[in-house]
């Protein structure tokens, strides 16, 4: 909220600078975000000297002036022919600036003459009500200076962030009341109890039909008003608070809203049929055209102010177009009410409208301030139009406000705060908040009607702490029960996975959880694939961030794309994060791991060894991960994922369950993502790995240094090319041979002189006995059996 310091000063004896006031408010919980001067925000309005006045013959009612601010020369057209003469120093608004009455100053061309900027009147400059002449300075005035510096006009305004619980601070008067509470500075209490004028009787009828929506409704009738422009002081304060003027009546209601925080509404009396005002629920399908010209269809839960025929106003939110005050209005009805904050808020949300008025009603207005605001508005109108007739105030208040009675005792205060604050201090604070009854150590407080944020003992404790000063409160360490919890296993596991991948040269990325639906569609998934069944946001920021991801792939591909367009072609990245599937209860969220490798395998450049990544780079990472985690991940060739090349991919299994996939992405899909080959990806469901991981950590076989030497024998043989290595491994594993420690693949060769469709494969068999040094003949015997078995099984021939 904007708080002009000069307006504050009307109600309180300000004993410090704007900066210090800002600090006081901030430390009391009302953060001052900025101190600024609205005049300085108008742009460059400076003093210039008129160098020359020209009267070209083809220009009739204007003349052309050459002026300078000391740096540049501007030509300006002006109609104030009889006021300008060379040598004069005048106020000049440069192009791009704005006048007090919201006119944007631009460069114009009239009959081929360019006019840059404009002379301004004292009114246009916002310094007085004078409109009929230019703002002229004495000839010795310094040129090129801000006119506000020259006139010593300073209007500091505080931009204060008011928390939603403190509706009472959404006004100038409210802020002064708060400043008084914190500092004790003298408050000039606003009191308008006695109106010294003859009142006519109220000519109409008011009925609150919806007492849940409207707690209090007061109003009065005024006859003989003349609608026109507001006086300068009203215009200036609206300007300081960033509001545009409409007409004197509406401006005064807005003025009172800013000053006292109570929204008012002015009706054209003649538009209220039968002089009958009904506060009721809207009828089904009832329509209303609002002040901003928008027609809305009302909801039965909306509260409206209606006459006997139709809704005139969306109560507390916005007036209707037809019943508003216009130029020709002579009789008005002024409304001041207290509406149910919840109803106003829900109604505003339903129609997506927030106004200065609804904002305040939602945050609770002071129920006891309703008539005061009416009187204040009357006072301001009377000052302009002393001869109008004013009715009595009609005040419908079926259920007068009852402040809550809050019980609190010293023990509770000390228990929450954690230290003992002197009784006198506590007393002095509590007495500033409402009516206090005190018995021994127990207090009973009925807060002032404007402090509707106070309803619980804890609220009072905060007030005590706040008035004492948060910085004064001691800092202590809790006296707490000793216990400690073991870190959760999934978090430990995730950390381990990240550590391993980092050691393999991968960088962790974090991508948005919402993605472009098109990026999933681009994956060529089977129409029944679960990943196409995405959770959609109803109010996304944009289409490209509109569905919850069901796979980490799109995010990783997007990151790869971002990198490749910014000089990074070789990338190894991963992400650990959630994917989301629809479920009965909220959603099914699963923690996944995604991997992406792209570009070349870069070796030392001076060796000239650089080669494109291939499948075995990805496979190696997964195998090494599997070893590092002691999880026997199984890579089954030929993934079912339609976005992977079937011949260059795997499905990943653990203990017979599919837990992920890995492989080369199809080129056509990569190109859709504006990326290029080679590009490999993998994705694993981490949640299913956690339990097997911890199980595996318990079963560690400890190997010792060998006591007896090992020995090896090689077999090199030729077999059909299409026999997979995996089959050979499996065959050897099933042999269950004594002393065989391991088998290494040492060479693989195809080409001359090996016949077409065949390959030469060399295997090295390592033998060792635990209890003796193997003799040659022992080894030979076993090894011959193996060789024979291998040759027979695979129809291989020794080479």
């Amino acid at each position: 909220m904007r708080v002009p310091i000069t307006w504050l000063a009307e109600f309180i004896d300000l004993r410090d600078t704007p900066e210090k006031i800002a600090e006081i408010l901030t430390l009391a919980g009302h953060e001052v975000e900025e101190i600024f001067d609205p005049y300085r925000k108008l742009g460059e309005i400076v003093s210039v000297k008129i160098l020359e006045v020209l009267r070209p013959e083809d220009l009739r009612e204007v003349c052309l002036c050459k002026v300078t601010d000391g740096k540049e020369v501007y030509t300006v057209l002006t109609t104030a022919i009889d006021q300008v003469k060379s040598g004069q120093v005048v106020a000049f608004a440069k192009p791009g600036s704005m006048t007090f009455d919201h006119r944007r100053i631009e460069t114009k061309v009239v009959k081929g003459y360019e006019s840059k900027g404009s002379f301004v009147s004292p009114f246009e400059a916002g310094v007085s009500e004078i409109k009929d002449r230019l703002l002229i300075f004495s000839e010795e005035t310094e040129i090129g200076k801000s006119i506000y510096d020259l006139l010593q006009i300073k209007e500091p305004v505080l931009e204060v962030a008011i928390t939603p619980n403190r509706g009472d601070l959404l006004s100038i008067y409210g802020i002064t009341r708060e400043l008084h509470l914190i500092t004790g500075w003298d408050l000039k209490v606003l009191s308008l109890d006695k109106e010294k004028l003859p009142l006519i009787s109220y000519p109409g009828r008011i009925e609150i039909q919806d007492t849940d929506g409207c707690y209090r409704y007061a109003g009065r009738y005024l006859r003989g008003v003349k609608v026109g422009e507001s006086p300068f002081f009203v215009l200036k304060r609206l300007f300081l608070c960033g509001q545009r003027p409409i007409n004197n009546i509406v401006d005064i209601t807005n003025y009172v809203l800013l000053e006292l925080g109570q929204p008012l509404h002015a009706f054209d009396w003649n538009k209220i049929r039968g002089g009958e005002i009904l506060i009721r629920r809207a009828n089904p399908q009832e329509k209303l055209t609002l002040l901003d010209g928008r027609e809305i269809e009302l909801h039965e839960k909306d509260l409206v102010i209606a006459d006997r025929e139709e809704a005139l106003v969306l109560a507390g939110i916005m007036g209707g177009e037809s019943s508003g005050v216009s130029e020709s209005t002579e009789e008005i009805f002024l409304e001041s009410a207290w509406f149910n904050p919840k109803r106003i808020r829900l109604s505003g949300q339903r129609h997506r409208i927030t106004t200065e008025s609804s904002y305040r009603f939602e945050r609770k207005v002071d129920p006891e301030g309703i008539p005061l605001a009416l009187k204040r508005a009357t006072e301001l109108i009377l000052a302009l139009m002393p001869n109008i007739e004013v009715s009595e105030i009609v005040d419908q208040y079926p259920c007068p406000y009852q402040p809550p009675s809050i019980d609190i005792n010293l023990r509770k205060i000390h228990k929450i705060l954690g230290f003992e604050l002197g009784r006198e201090k506590i007393d002095s604070f509590l007495f500033k908040l409402g009516e206090v009854k005190c018995e021994g150590e127990a207090y009973s407080i009925r807060p002032f009607s404007y402090r509707q944020d106070l309803s619980l003992p804890e609220d009072l404790v905060e007030e005590i702490a706040r008035l004492y000063g948060y910085d004064q409160i001691p800092t202590t360490f809790p006296k707490a029960t000793i216990f400690s919890a073991r870190p959760r296993s999934d978090l430990i596991f995730n950390k381990k996975v990240k550590e391993i991948l980092r050691a393999f040269g991968f960088y962790e990325t974090i991508n948005y959880s919402f993605i472009n639906p098109g990026s999933i569609e681009a994956l060529n998934l089977n129409p029944t694939d679960r990943r196409l069944d995405v959770i959609r946001l109803t109010n996304p920021i944009s289409h490209s961030l509109s569905v919850m991801r069901t796979t980490l792939l799109p995010g990783l591909l997007e990151t790869a794309r971002f990198n490749i367009h910014r000089e990074v072609e070789n990338l190894r990245i991963f992400e650990v994060g959630k994917v989301f599937y629809p479920a009965k209860d909220l959603a099914e969220e699963r923690e996944f791991l995604g991997l992406l490798l792209m570009g070349d395998m870069v070796k030392t450049p001076w060796e000239g060894k650089k080669r494109p990544l291939d499948l075995f780079d990805l496979k190696g990472v997964l195998e090494a991960m599997s070893l590092a985690m002691k999880l026997p991940l199984q890579l089954r060739p030929g993934s079912e994922e339609p976005f992977l090349k079937a011949g260059q991919s795997f499905d990943i299994y653990l203990e017979g369950k599919r837990v992920g996939y890995a492989g080369a992405m199809k080129k056509l899909i990569i190109e859709d993502f504006d990326l290029k080959e080679p590009l490999f990806v993998a994705e694993l469901d981490l949640e299913v790995l956690v339990e097997p991981y911890f199980r595996a950590q318990k079963n560690i076989t400890v190997n010792k240094p060998p006591k007896y030497p090992s020995t090896f024998r090689d077999i090199t043989c030729v077999m059909e090319k299409n026999i997979p290595f995996e089959a050979i491994e499996k065959f050897l594993l099933n042999l269950k041979l004594p002393y065989l420690e391991k088998v290494d693949l040492v060479a693989l060769y195809e080409g001359e002189p090996i016949p077409q469709g065949h390959k030469s494969i060399s295997l090295r068999f390592w033998y060792r006995a635990e209890d003796h040094t193997l003799r040659d003949e022992e080894v030979e015997k076993i090894h011959e059996d193996i060789a024979k078995g291998l040759f027979d099984h695979f129809r291989a021939k020794p080479r």
Partner: protein
């Protein structure tokens, strides 16, 4: 052979020994003096003609010399072999080495770990919660009913199912309290979502939530724990400021500022010329929240706090654009290792 002759050989050998510079010198020397036809070998052969006494004496002397030279040669040879190994290779060793790859964790993950590590030694348990939440956990149970203006503070993404993306990590408080019996201490990091995006806001960001409930935990204790935290994260000399604030789920509430780390309190763009930077919001758990999880507010009280991870990371590393975290450019990621 005369004594003088032997003396001459001796002198010559010792002189040449000193002059040895290379392994080939060494070989030549060996041949010249100690080889089959070497002068010492020759001399040993020639002394046979000398009288016994003299033969004995000269023979001993020559053998001694031979032994001496052999020993010297051996050590000289080692010396030269060492020198040999010091010779530069025919390669520029200032060329880059073969580096094993080493990646990095994301800076936000790193900061989250650091934040959690401040609290785990105090017995806080790290917990997480769902990112897709219900109105109840995200708002209602936290004392933010549907009509509450505080909902304006958090622009919410809704899903077609009526669920929403959690706007803060506070719903984890509710879930943790329901799943446990007091006393409890938790620290809960995670992703949160709000529908705004610009240089300072990202529609997805991270928070860390803390909660402690016990019999006697007070507002002063909250200040103590937060001060400890700020100094652990930002350094011993960090200036702190506590301001009243408002959150529907805490009462009393506060916000903590630290002295601006960019300008040192002088005033700059980052701290909007105030010299202070807001770091977190906190407060005593609201009695309505305790009631929502069936904790008796007369028996249990506690505090909760929530902080923005991106903000802390930006301050710690001097990052001025929040989007950098989610673009994941390699150069950026490499900065953190």
């Amino acid at each position: 052979m005369k004594i003088e002759e032997i003396q001459r050989i001796k002198d010559e050998a010792l002189r040449e020994l000193r002059a040895l510079r290379s392994l080939s010198d060494l070989e030549n020397f060996k041949v010249k003096f100690l080889g089959k036809k070497g002068s010492i070998t020759q001399a040993l052969r020639e002394i046979k003609g000398l009288p016994l006494e003299e033969r004995k004496k000269t023979g001993a002397e020559l053998n001694q010399l031979r032994q001496y030279l052999e020993d010297e040669l051996e050590s000289k040879k080692r010396e030269l072999l060492f020198l040999e190994e010091d010779k530069p290779l025919d390669i520029d060793i200032t060329l880059p080495g073969r580096r094993p790859l080493y990646g990095g964790v994301h800076p936000l993950a790193k900061v989250i770990d650091e934040l959690c590590e401040v609290f785990t030694p105090l017995g806080f348990e790290v917990v997480t919660g769902p990112e897709i939440e219900s109105e109840y956990y995200n708002f209602t149970a936290l004392n933010i009913p549907e009509w509450h203006p505080a909902r304006d503070m958090q622009a919410t993404f809704y899903l077609q199912s009526g669920a929403l993306l959690r706007t803060h990590t506070s719903p984890i408080q509710i879930r943790a309290m329901l799943a446990r019996k007091p006393p409890l201490r938790i620290i809960a990091p995670g992703k949160v979502y709000r529908c705004d995006a610009d240089v300072r806001h990202s529609p997805m960001f991270h928070q860390v939530e803390g909660l402690m409930v016990d019999r006697e935990v007070s507002f002063s204790d909250l200040k103590g724990v937060l001060s400890y935290f700020a100094r652990e994260v930002f350094g011993e000399g960090t200036r702190l400021r506590f301001r009243p604030s408002y959150f529907p789920f805490t009462e009393p509430s506060l916000e903590m500022d630290i002295g601006c780390v960019i300008c040192g309190g002088e005033g700059c763009r980052v701290c909007s010329n105030t010299g202070w930077i807001e770091i977190l919001g906190a407060g005593m758990v609201h009695p309505e929240v305790l009631r929502a999880v069936n904790y008796d507010p007369e028996q249990w009280q506690g505090f909760a706090f929530g902080l923005g991870v991106e903000r802390i990371a930006m301050l710690k590393y001097g990052i001025d654009d929040i989007r950098l975290f989610f673009e994941n450019h390699l150069y950026f990621l490499e900065s953190f290792k």
